[in-house]
Amino acid sequence: MLKLERRKEPSKFMLYVTPFVAVVLTMLAGLLLFLLLGKAPVQAITLIYFTPLTSIFSLTELAVKATPLILIAIGLSFGFRAGIWNIGAEGQFIMGAVCGGAVALALYEVQGIWVLPLMCVAGIIGGMLWAAIPAYLRIRFNANEILVSLMLVYVATLLLSILVHGVLRDPDGHNFPESRLFHDSATLPILIENTRAHLGIIVTLVVVVIAWVFVQRHIIGFQIKALGDAPRAAKFAGFSENRIIWLCFLTSGALAGLAGLFEAAGPVGQLVPALPVGYGFTAIIVAFLGRLNPIGIFLGGLLMALTYIGGEGAQIAMSLPSATTSVFQGMLLFFLLATDILINFRFRWISKKPDSLEPAPVSLQQAE
């Protein structure tokens, strides 16, 4: 019979292989799903996973989608490593867009190369302040940061709505709930003409590299990992848990805020109620898909963006339901979590012995 047996230490091999296994299993399950729906399965999978890779334009769209996902996921991965669960990146994303966007609108008459950096700073601060709320409540009152950060997403969504219905509304916009379009100084420069590929993509690449260096080489990355693995040992090492909580929340808030500002000052170009489209939540999947490692997150973000672009393409080409993208993302996380058991466990084939004794009972508890 097949038996699950605990490994002596986590398998490095499985750590890197299971994301790929999960992708393959998602494709297979997708094939089955389309078959049951009566749609051409191979065509659908091709449209989702391969067609977007065949044109320059869809590749740049891929990068545009992947940018906020990667930025947010990198911020989240710090906390997730330490066992600090910021689920509210979506709210921090919105607050970044609101604060950065407000600066752009306040300086509507002003041109200058310093406008955009100022917006970035405002966006980062906005995200950090929003993330500071769950951090403070956790440290001061031991409030559950998962709930607090998640609730603040809805507060942020409504706040954005109030603002674009009120003070930030375009005076010449016929009462539509949206802000003015940002002017040129307040919009991210485009990298490739006639596409939406913007400067934020480059910034994201830089962030990936810096984050990698911090995680691998810096004592801060070490502290975060130690706190996540063994809180008592982290304390023994002299690392302050409260400082790490602040650090993780402020970092993830800053990066989510920056991503929000990039979205507002990039592809969207103004503040609208529909600005948040769930990047903050999808980034959670990206962070785990990438093994909480910046390079992995980079690849995971590209993959997740692919399902967005491909899913949309397939919806249009084959008139699939709009839930297709979400279903694929959900399946991907499901298979990833399921195959992750192989990191700490392995399958062993136990043959029944033709012994006078009954076979040994199958259990996990007797490893000692």
Partner: protein, 509 residues
């Protein structure tokens, strides 16, 4: 003692992934004898008694109980056939009373009518005084053990398995336990007595079976052997006992004054006005039964928690009362906590990463916040080589090492930082005799080189072997330290029971 055999084990073999825990184990337990099962950690003692008690099933081999084949598939079956067990780690609920705990742990038929009275009768009969209405949380460890024993006796067992029963007791409590055990033997019951304390086995047991690497390596009559010869059978090589030279202590390096600390655990002990000094070149031992404040004292000395009010801790004359663990390390303090996995080491990190946990300042493993991976690797290799840590490599996770090897790694990591003051809690707990002896040698060596060592231990043999002075912690208070040569086991035992109230008022150096 009769010559009838109660339990016969023949050819018991049990394979676990990667380790043959029992290899063709055969021996007999006679009726009315106390039979010792001796062996180092990992020799297979626990696996063997779990087979007898029906927790594990053997892969091969048979057992006969009173001549009838016996193969329990679960503990309740073993109990029904007259096997009882008193575990090393008690399975009692602190928030329930003695009677409630006993009721939960026995079969429903036995728990009916008049259980309270039977508990009182039983405890009187065997000299194990118990009040059935006391909360477990309010009882000392020794009394908790009585609860376990009474619970076991209520089932009228023929064979009682006792796993390291004295490791949590004061010497006086040990005497009471031995009287009880002898009374049980005289009634014709048999006792399988697991221990690695050789003197008590020599005093108590008629026969001994010695396990090493899962095999029976010897059977003997303990009274005819010396503790040294028993130990050598256990570890399979000759043993060098630590050599202590008399040395004159130097200046005070660690001084603790009026240390108090509240315990957040309602059943745990608060530290109350603890005072002591440790001098250069000295090993200062703190004895005590587990749960009397040792953990809090360790936390306070590491700096994981700051102490209350008037507490004052000084290292080489510098006040460190409000310094965190890292600042204390910078000034020369190193620590060996009792729990290795999860406190002394991060389980999922590799050995070289685990050097960074404590040695990054003193061994310059980081520079301006960036980790010097080369230096950390080098230091980890040095620890592994110098302290004979058996591992496939420093890239392997701490949790993949056996307990004894990880302990050697942690001890090595701290000692190689040449500490001014070393605080060690239970440094040889669960370590095999050979490694324990080498750890003792190392401690003596760095003490000779001027380190002040504070040794917190529950093992009196260890404390008497290497300490210069000993104090006892009981219920969060520290007794007056005494020179080892002026002390007896009996005196320490009284303090461990918290009975010498007058001597704890103050303790000057």
């Amino acid at each position: 003692m009769t010559n009838e055999t109660l339990l016969t084990l023949s050819g018991l073999t049990k394979q676990f992934p990667g380790v043959l825990a029992n290899d063709n184990v055969s021996f007999e337990i006679k009726k009315g004898e106390i039979h010792a099962l001796l062996g180092e950690n990992g020799a297979g003692k626990s696996t063997l008694v779990k087979i007898i008690y029906g927790v594990n099933k053997p892969d091969a081999g048979t057992m006969l109980l009173n001549g009838i084949p016996f193969s329990p598939t679960k503990p309740s079956e073993a109990r029904a056939q007259g096997i009882g067990m008193v575990f090393q780690h008690f399975s009692l609920f602190e928030a329930l009373t003695v009677a409630e705990n006993i009721e939960l742990g026995i079969s429903p038929e036995l728990a009916k009518n008049g259980l309270r009275e039977r508990i009182i009768d039983m405890s009187k009969q065997y000299g194990l005084e118990l009040d059935p209405d006391r909360l477990i949380g309010s009882l000392s460890v020794g009394v908790r053990q009585r609860v376990e024993i009474v619970r076991c006796l209520l089932q009228d067992p023929q064979l009682i398995i006792m796993d390291e029963p004295t490791s949590v007791l004061t010497p006086q409590e040990v005497d009471v336990l031995f009287q009880t055990l002898q009374r049980l033997r005289n009634e014709g019951r048999s006792i399988l007595y697991i221990s690695h304390k050789l003197e008590e086995i020599r005093a108590l047991c008629e026969h001994a079976t010695i396990l090493r690497g899962g095999k029976v390596v010897a059977t003997c009559t303990p009274a005819e052997e010396s503790a040294k010869s028993l130990a050598e059978m256990m570890i399979g090589s000759s043993l060098t006992l630590p050599q202590r030279e008399t040395n004159t202590p130097g200046d005070v390096r660690l001084s603790v004054e009026h240390l108090s600390l509240k315990n957040e655990d309602p059943f745990g002990a608060d530290l109350q006005d603890i005072n002591f000094e440790v001098k250069s070149g000295e090993i200062f031992g703190i004895a005590g039964v587990a749960g009397n404040g040792q953990n809090k004292l360790m936390e306070a000395l590491i700096g994981e928690r700051f102490c209350d009010g008037a507490s004052k801790i000084q290292l080489d004359g510098k006040e460190i009362t409000r310094s965190g663990p890292n600042d204390r390390r910078k000034l020369g303090m190193c620590f060996i906590p009792e729990e290795r996995l999860g406190h002394g080491a991060v389980p999922d990190m590799s050995l070289w990463e685990n050097t960074i946990v404590t040695a990054r300042e003193r061994r310059q493993l980081s520079n301006k916040g960036f980790i010097n991976i080369g230096a950390a690797h080098e230091f980890a290799e040095q620890v592994v080589n110098d302290f004979d840590v058996r591992t496939a490599g420093i890239e392997h996770a701490a949790r993949s090492l056996s307990g004894g090897n990880l302990q050697k790694f942690i001890v090595g990591r701290e000692l190689l930082q040449s500490p001014a003051v070393l605080i060690a809690s239970q440094p040889t707990w669960g370590v095999d005799a050979g490694a324990a002896s080498s750890i003792h040698q190392m401690l003596l060596k760095i003490a000779r080189e001027g380190t002040a060592i504070l040794l917190i231990s529950q093992d009196l043999d260890e404390l008497f072997a290497i300490s210069d002075r000993i104090a006892v912690i009981a219920n969060g208070k520290l007794s007056k330290p005494e020179n080892v040569k002026d002390l007896t086991i009996e005196k320490i035992g009284l303090d461990m029971g918290g009975q010498s109230q007058e001597s704890e008022i103050h303790a000057e150096a």
